[in-house]
Symmetry: C2
Subunit: 188 residues, 2 copies
């Protein structure tokens, strides 16, 4: 593997984000992305299944990290504490590059297909958290509620982090959002 080939995935991602931003997602092909990165389409497909997956490449790792953090929480802790640990892990995983996250969010919001893919990603994470909680012996309804509440917190915190002038890190916003959720839902 040559010097450049080593960072092929990163270069392809950069090239894709540049072209998606300039031409629009629909108007960009895999061939365009590979050419922009100075690589071949064959190399592209070694790293990404298709042009959509450039934007979702980290999803499996994100999910695995969240489930791992949930499972690492002591069995004596309640479901929402395990979910909170999982959200902290998510913040570590996706909270490093706000500029990238902002560009990614703008692209996703502008495209129905990408919005659907993002919905599926979040639903998949919710199911994995729910299943993880059930394996810990949490009753079905509580497991579903804690998992869905966690995803609600993730979404709202991530939106705030990517849109606001808020300079705090994603983890801090997540913790505040969990707190806020309990305040908002308590008055029903």
């Amino acid at each position: 593997m040559g010097r450049w080939e080593g960072d092929a995935a990163g270069r392809l991602r950069e090239a894709a984000m540049k072209l998606y931003g300039e031409r629009g997602y629909d108007q960009t092909t895999v061939a365009d992305i590979a050419a922009e990165a100075g690589l071949t389409a064959r190399t592209f497909f070694r790293h990404y299944a298709d042009k959509r997956e450039v934007l979702f490449a980290g999803s499996d790792l994100l999910l695995a990290g969240m489930v791992q953090a949930l499972e690492a929480t002591p069995a004596s802790e309640g479901p929402m504490r395990a979910v909170a640990a999982s959200l902290a892990a998510a913040s570590e995983a996706v909270g490093r590059d706000r500029a990238f996250s902002r560009r990614r969010r703008a692209l996703i919001e502008a495209n129905a297909e990408l919005r659907e893919r993002e919905l599926i990603k979040m639903a998949t994470i919710a199911e994995a958290l729910r299943d993880g909680l059930r394996r810990r012996g949490v009753p079905a309804a509580d497991a579903s509620l804690a998992a869905e509440a966690g995803i609600a917190v993730f979404r709202v915190a991530w939106e705030q982090w990517t849109s606001g002038p808020d300079d705090r890190d994603l983890g801090a916003i997540m913790r505040e959002t969990i707190e806020r959720l309990t305040v908002v839902t308590a008055d029903h």
Copy 2:
């Protein structure tokens, strides 16, 4: 409009549910459904955009009813109270026919395309509730959290209602689920 034509939408729905259950959703065509109902494909398309929409025909009405209930809640009430009113309206709208809801759920869970459509439906409702809350002057993050929490409650209560031996009505399960959400999230 003849005697039968008057209930064409209902007959088409029944025919579709029968064939989806017998042959599978993917193996059923609009022509099959129309023939089973003793109607023409042209009549089918007067009532439904495509075979998928037979399962989502009530979505717009559901959303409208939920937003209306939210807006009818006194301005002095907090966001989760407005969302609770909206969930009560949803229970009225979709909580009448449990046998149909069970069949619908089984079909949706067995088909990736239908699961995606259902995710989009719920996301659309969440956005409508959030926007409704913002129009009431609720701050952005609280509006999103209350709306997402409401959808979490809807999902979990609906799953319980369609799967369990639980004979209570959907509205009662919704109210209990809101209560449960606050208990589960409080310990974080």
